[in-house]
């Protein structure tokens, strides 16, 4: 029973973490049809910025409780600066090119950003674990979990709900949905598609940075941390269906639960489990669980 409970809790925590990161990736793909491989670097930038800011704050004697606000601030700054910079400075000039070309461009960007991180922060690790343990623990039978994990779950739910509300209930959101469905018709109807691209990429960048900033207190922030994440986030959005918001949620939950069950019951299969799920889903639904029916254009 304890083990089943542990599987469920660990699965939800892992899924929340993955969802925040995968959401930005799937949103950018849904609107812009760009599989942004630099998403992992934006996640890493968020983590480094958060670690630096919180580290500086704490070493200056600041209140540890304020560090939660600083994590969010660091993510916002990274996302709001890098998002428009990348979209306006680079991607804007490449719209209309083949998707493969854009993948290669974002891969190149990923390599550049990884080196930039090394130039700015060096190869040493950064540790700011204070926010992780500050809120104490919650107990589930014999298992203790830091309350910070609950913060992560709540953050994922709030971000997911806000995004759903934004897309379904606001004018801008509906225009964005229109662009997702058909970019040309949307433009013909007077929607400023270029502006939508800028907003979408910036939101995606902020989400990646939020993922990194929220992760920073739980890990040692090291070079290359974005590489692992992009592979996992990619698996999530492929399972859920590229560009689908509910798909990202279900994909993250599926990956989280399967991985957690593997760790508890069959640890030797942990490495393989996520990709086994991905392969199975693609076997049954080649475009992912929540892929929309595609209109055939003649």
């Amino acid at each position: 029973m304890t083990q089943l409970l542990a599987v469920a809790i660990d699965g939800v925590i892992y899924a929340s973490w993955l969802f925040i990161i995968a959401l930005g990736l799937t949103l950018i793909y849904g609107v812009m049809k760009i599989l942004n491989l630099a998403h992992g670097s934006l996640y890493a930038l968020g983590a480094y910025a958060a670690a630096s800011l919180v580290g500086y704050w704490l070493s200056a004697g600041g209140s540890p409780y304020a560090s939660y606000g600083l994590l969010a601030a660091a993510a916002l700054v990274v996302g709001l600066v890098t998002g428009p910079l990348i979209e306006r400075g680079l991607l804007k000039h490449l719209y209309g090119r083949d998707e493969i070309v854009l993948i290669l461009v974002t891969y190149a960007l990923f390599l550049i950003l990884e080196d930039m991180i090394k130039l700015l922060w060096g190869v040493e690790s950064y540790v700011v674990s204070e926010p992780y343990g500050l809120l104490g623990n919650m107990s589930f039978g014999p298992l203790d979990y830091p309350v910070y994990n609950a913060v992560l779950v709540v953050a994922a739910v709030v971000i997911g709900a806000a995004m759903t509300w934004g897309l379904q209930r606001t004018r801008s959101g509906r225009m964005l949905v229109a662009v997702i469905h058909d970019r040309e018709i949307s433009a013909a109807m007077g929607i400023n598609v270029q502006r939508m691209y800028l907003v979408t990429f910036t939101i995606g960048a902020v989400l990646a940075a939020v993922g990194g900033a929220l992760t920073a207190p739980t890990v040692s922030v090291v070079p290359g941390m974005g590489v692992e994440v992009i592979v996992l986030a990619f698996a999530v959005v492929v399972i859920g269906g590229l560009g689908s918001l509910p798909g990202a949620a279900v994909g993250a939950l599926l990956v989280g639960m399967v991985r957690s069950a593997a760790v508890h019951y069959l640890p030797e299969a942990e490495l393989f489990s996520i990709y086994a799920v991905m392969a199975l889903v693609l076997l049954v639904r080649p475009k992912g669980l929540f892929s929309a029916a595609e209109v055939r254009r003649i």
Binding site: W17, V123, S125, V127, S129, Y132, P142, V263, P267, L271
Partner: protein, 431 residues
């Protein structure tokens, strides 16, 4: 007036002298010894391992080139009087890239020897290539015992002990510390290093405590970073001892995530490669954690003249204390110096050939900053050393190591010609 006949006679003579000079061997002091040093300069292994190793190399090479700064027998300048020239190569990028880089070092950069490699996978890939190119190659850190147990090499040496020693000594230490233990568990990275480490520790525990039960063996992906589920599995399958060979960012993340969940209070956690984390997580490592340094390095290093010199020079330049990869790099450079100079002396003072240095390297014994090193395994190509383990204790906000126990090399390494796995299963028989 120019004597044309004189010029005619002098020209062939001059050419002959120049030609003779060209064919004469250069004196050992004329030509620098070019060393290719390969270590992680980027990626997750750079911060904890690669960069400290490079820092150690830079400090030592500067001192050697200046001459007279090191204690005997290392006081002579450079390698046999010749200055050392160094080419640093990044070990990141995988084995295929490393094999190409190695060939470049040998065939295009014409290095005299190569020192390097932290990853066991890289060592396994480079060894046959070094042999093919007949290039003296010294591995300084990689741990897999398979290199000299599964093959035999003429030009390849390893001056660092194998991972077998780490795990056998770890098992001995935890049994001493907790004699009544009955259950063990593990969390190791899912690749050669983690798997081999767990196999050796598990087998050693079964010899030392027959009937010991394994509650769970977790093998997360290398660089996974998130270990929430694995920590839950370790907590819900409680064990007296949890073994981990985690390193770098993975190790730090595991400590940061497991400590608040009280895993370190509920089980005795042994971290075989935990020493580099002492510097980075000082004050954050839970008291009672068993820490190893893959040999008598860092906090476990003996108080000898070489160690005093090295630790002081390193701290003066980099503020922090040197960790075990830095010590192991220094060991490799010092061993190569002694072998080079021994070979040079045998060659009448001329620059020695790779064959001469390799012959001099075999069965070499020397004292480094970590104490005595004997190249006594793998037909004289593999080093053994004493090792040590201790327990973390927070004193005044910083982590210190107490209850240090030392294990002689002969007790924690197999005898020559016996495979590590067979030796452990035999009950550590010394023949």
């Amino acid at each position: 007036m120019v004597n044309r006949r004189g010029i005619g006679a002098a020209l062939p003579l001059g050419c002959a002298i120049l030609g003779l000079a060209a064919t004469m061997p250069a004196s050992a002091q004329d030509r620098p010894v070019k060393i290719g040093i390969v270590t992680f300069l980027s990626g997750a292994a750079a911060g904890p391992f690669g960069v400290p190793a490079r820092n150690g190399a830079e400090i030592l090479i500067e001192a050697l080139n200046a001459g007279g700064k090191l204690p005997t027998p290392y006081a002579a300048k450079g390698y046999g009087g010749a200055p050392i020239e160094v080419v640093f190569i990044d070990e990141a990028g995988g084995t295929t890239k490393q094999v190409s880089e190695f060939r470049n070092l040998v065939q295009r950069q014409n290095v005299d020897l190569v020192i390097g490699y932290i990853s066991s996978g890289d060592c396994l890939a480079i060894a046959p290539v070094a042999e093919e190119l007949k290039k003296l190659t010294v591995f300084f850190d990689c741990g897999t015992p398979r290199i000299f147990e599964d093959a035999s090499y003429k030009y390849v040496f390893r001056t660092g002990p194998t991972a077998t020693m780490d795990n056998v000594a770890a098992a001995m230490y935890v049994v001493d510390l907790k004699p009544g233990l009955g259950k063990i568990a593990g969390i190791n990275q899912n690749y050669a290093w983690g798997q081999d480490s767990w196999v050796d520790f598990d087998a050693s525990m079964k010899v030392l405590k027959p009937g010991v039960q394994v509650t769970t063996s977790q093998m997360p992906k290398l660089l996974a970073g998130q270990y929430g589920a694995e920590i839950s599995a370790l907590l819900s399958n409680p064990a007296d001892v949890v073994h981990s060979s985690f390193w770098g960012g993975d190790l730090e993340a595991f400590i940061l995530q497991a400590a608040p969940r009280e895993l370190f209070k509920k089980s005795l956690v042994v971290l075989t490669a935990g020493e580099p984390a002492l510097h980075r997580l000082s004050g954050k490592i839970p008291d009672g954690t068993v820490i190893g340094a893959r040999g008598p390095f860092g906090v476990f290093a003996p108080d000898n003249e070489m160690n005093r010199w090295f630790a002081k020079a390193y701290e003066e330049r980099y503020v922090v204390s040197p960790n075990y990869p830095a010590y192991k790099m220094v060991n490799a450079l010092l061993a190569a110096k002694l072998a080079w100079e021994k070979a040079q002396s045998g060659a009448g003072g001329k620059p020695p050939t790779n064959e001469q240095v390799a012959a001099a390297f075999e069965n070499l014994s020397f004292d480094g900053p970590g104490g005595a090193v004997r190249m006594s395994l793998g037909k004289g190509h593999q080093a053994v050393m004493d090792t040590a383990y201790g327990v973390a204790k927070t004193v005044g906000g910083t982590t210190q190591i107490v209850d240090v126990k030392r294990y002689p090399a002969a007790r924690v390494n197999p005898p020559e010609g016996v495979k590590s796995e067979d030796w452990i299963k035999s009950g550590f028989k010394s023949r």
